[in-house]
């Protein structure tokens, strides 16, 4: 689960990290009061969406008159911001973060992730911030450090110093940096993060380190023990079908093609998409209907797939393991009748009682192509989608 910048910064403040004084507003008429409350004569207004690249897309502005902030809010609130990280429709802007302006002397990069290979939390730092870090990794890898850390480990100060060197921090900044690393690591562990990114971490005109951005992802598997973070979930930033699927505990990702896919198992679902592509078709989605594939879940899955107007045919691919294919077949028939589907459905059943299952499907008085060979089933779906 992703957080907005303002939510991330609230967490930063809770963990004593240096962030700007700011206010979040949801209505344009609140801008002036917010600017007055923050004080000063210059502010930054930042559209809040779950995507990077906001600055270049016009979603961040520097203002020296609160009325310009009102104009900015009127321009963006309720609209979609399109950046290089969003799809073509962009992400809806429902709130704007107003902050006191920070004089930037230098921009740096700092992030933390769980590294699969070393099986540690790893900090990634670079003296080049405010830019796309993947570009830096490609063009100037010597400017990036990957430093594994362990909370409570005696070597943490040394690890932090290693990063500080690559960030080219002076003595005072290095002293500030150690508690920053400690607090970020504590935040990462206590809040079950999977990613934390500060791009840019800046040096301000006083020569102090300051967190100018905050990107935070939370491990969805750990949300059960993070109730206050659960409340920060913003459904408006999710693909509506994906959000709908998530509510039914179905794993769904929408894609650009026109062949709807319903599969049991995440690996097989990806394999099915690849098979469709292999035979010249284009999958409309990834969908893992789960191990049990009951009528209820299959019906729900059909409803989600069919909300995509591009879908011309649905390929159902089920490997019946513990649940027998004849039972799954009955569930599919009942679900198709329940949802009232009027596009072709190709069903491939394999595994336990597969033949019995396909017999039930072919005898049913509905439009189903029952094909037990996956290549043939995929080819048929590709043909029907043309």
């Amino acid at each position: 689960m992703n957080l907005h910048e303002y939510q991330g910064k609230a967490l930063f403040a809770e963990y004593n990290l240096p962030v700007s004084k700011g206010k979040i507003i949801f209505k344009a008429e609140d801008v002036i009061e917010a600017c007055n409350e923050i004080g000063g004569s210059k502010w930054v207004v930042k559209a809040q969406v779950h995507a990077g690249g906001r600055g270049k897309a016009g979603g961040v502005e520097l203002i020296d008159d609160p009325n310009e902030g009102v104009k900015f809010a009127n321009k963006w609130l309720g609209k979609n911001l399109i950046t290089y990280q969003t799809d073509k429709d962009g992400q809806p802007v429902n709130s704007i973060l107003i902050e006191e302006c920070t004089e930037i002397v230098k921009e740096l990069y700092l992030s933390a992730v769980i590294d699969r290979e070393s099986q540690k939390i790893v900090f990634i730092g670079s003296c080049e911030g405010g830019v796309n870090i993947e570009e830096v990794a490609k063009n100037a890898p010597e400017k990036i450090i990957y430093q594994g850390v362990t909370y409570g480990d005696k070597s943490l100060p040394e690890d932090a110093t290693n990063i500080a060197k690559v960030l080219k921090l002076d003595e005072k900044q290095t002293d500030q940096f150690l508690p920053i690393i400690e607090n970020l690591l504590r935040l990462f562990i206590e809040k079950d993060l999977s990613l934390l990114e500060i791009n840019p971490l800046v040096i301000n005109e006083k020569g102090d380190l300051h967190c100018l951005d905050a990107k935070i992802n939370i491990d969805s598997n750990a949300l059960y023990r993070q109730p206050e973070l659960q409340d920060m979930y913003d459904e408006s930033q999710e693909d509506p079908q994906e959000a709908e699927a998530a509510k039914s505990d179905l794993s769904y990702v929408s894609l650009d093609g026109n062949i709807g896919c319903m599969v049991n198992g995440a690996g097989l679902a990806m394999g099915t998409m690849d098979t469709i592509k292999f035979f010249g078709g284009n999958p409309a989605n990834f969908l893992d209907v789960g191990g049990t594939a009951t009528q209820e879940r299959v019906a729900k899955a059909f409803k989600i797939i069919l909300k995509d107007p591009e879908v011309k045919v649905v390929l159902v691919n089920i490997f019946g393991g513990i649940v027998r294919c004849d039972l799954i077949a009955e569930g599919i028939i009942a679900a198709i009748k329940e949802v009232d589907i009027n596009i072709p459905v190709v069903v491939r059943l394999e595994g336990n009682n597969a033949e019995k299952g396909s017999k039930i499907l072919s005898k049913a008085n509905i439009k189903i192509e029952s094909i037990n060979n996956l290549s043939h089933a995929a080819k048929k779906a590709v043909e029907l989608a043309k």
């Binding site: 769980i114 699969r116 290979e117 099986q119 540690k120 939390i121 870090i133 993947e134 990794a137 562990i189 079950d192 999977s194 491990d219 969805s220 598997n221 750990a222 059960y224 023990r225 794993s251 990702v253 894609l255 599969v263 049991n264 198992g265 995440a266 690996g267 097989l268 679902a269 990806m270 394999g271 099915t272 998409m273 690849d274 098979t275 469709i276 592509k277 292999f278 999958p283 990834f286 893992d288 191990g291 490997f319 019946g320 393991g321 513990i322 394999e350 595994g351 336990n352 060979n373 996956l374 290549s375």
Partner: protein, 290 residues
């Protein structure tokens, strides 16, 4: 021979009396697995599926001398269940449960490594040695004793590989689902080592997917350490970047972990690639008959 489990495996089930534990234990017993008991705190002394129930793994060890444990408890209790089994002295733990927080797995992995315990999973179908023992949720009837060792990050894709190698008459020595999480208890490399040493295994099928670099590391390992033919299929060529594809570990992040990169690396290291999921079996056939 086989790897990890066989007819001498004495298994206990943690989460024995729950719905998942009960369903899959019944099927495993029917398959011939020697389940010697189960653990459900607070239900010690009861009999379930004609086997004794214990309050703790320690109690079970004293009474029925198990040498392996399978875990079906909910994700939030998995850390304590795995650590309990490991500290009590069980050397092989299989965790089926999906949804364990990644930071829990970092802790678990550190502790089991220190204790010298082998963990398979989590978020996996388990391990089967056809005809001998089934420690997991896979359908037993598609397997057949034979010569192919199978390792996979995905459940149903493993079943596809099993079905195809059974239909072509090869059968399997053992099949291991290492699971779809970012931090698995055991890696492809751990299992490749075991299959290399196993006399019964003539070829190894490795089913991978997008995300991380486990396949790339395995490719390097295969190049210098594995003499048996390895056939690999990688799922997720059509997966978009930055989206989690069901499994917690199946995500292309920062342009890394794509199917193309994995396939390229595997090919460079001499691994045979099945370029379509329906051709895993025929690729094995082609390699073993050439």
């Amino acid at each position: 021979m086989s790897i990890l489990v066989n007819k001498d495996t004495r298994l206990i089930v943690q989460g024995f009396t729950g719905s998942q534990g009960t369903l899959h234990s019944e099927q495993s017993i029917e398959y011939g697995t020697n389940i010697v008991g189960g653990v459900t705190p607070g239900k010690g002394g009861q009999i379930h599926l004609q086997k004794p129930v214990f309050n703790s793994v320690e109690e079970a060890i004293k009474e029925v001398e198990p040498n392996a444990s399978i875990i079906f408890v909910p994700a939030k209790f998995c850390k304590s269940s795995i650590i309990e089994a490991a500290q009590a002295g069980i050397k092989l733990i299989i965790c089926i449960t999906e949804g364990i927080p990644t930071l829990d797995m970092l802790d678990i992995k550190k502790q089991i490594d220190e204790l010298g315990v082998r963990l398979i999973g989590p978020n996996c179908p388990g391990v089967i040695t056809p005809g001998e023992a089934k420690l997991g949720i896979m359908p037993g009837n598609i397997h057949k004793p034979g010569s192919i060792g199978i390792i996979s990050r995905s459940g149903t894709l493993t079943y596809e590989a099993v079905k195809q190698t059974t239909d072509l008459g090869f059968g399997q020595s053992s099949c291991v689902g290492i699971g779809g999480d970012p931090i698995p208890g055991s890696s492809f490399i751990d299992m490749l080592k075991l299959f290399e040493e196993d006399d019964q295994t003539e070829a190894i099928v490795m089913v991978g997917e997008i995300g991380g670099n486990a396949e790339e590391s395995a490719a390097e390992f295969i190049k210098s350490n594995i003499t048996k033919p390895v056939i690999s299929y990688i799922a997720g060529k059509t997966a978009p970047a930055g989206k989690r594809m069901g499994h917690a570990g199946a995500i292309i992040a920062g342009g890394k972990g794509t199917a193309e990169d994995k396939i390229k690396k595997l090919k460079e290291c001499g691994v045979h690639i099945a370029d379509n999921l329906v051709s895993i079996g025929s690729k094995v056939d082609e390699i073993l008959k050439s």
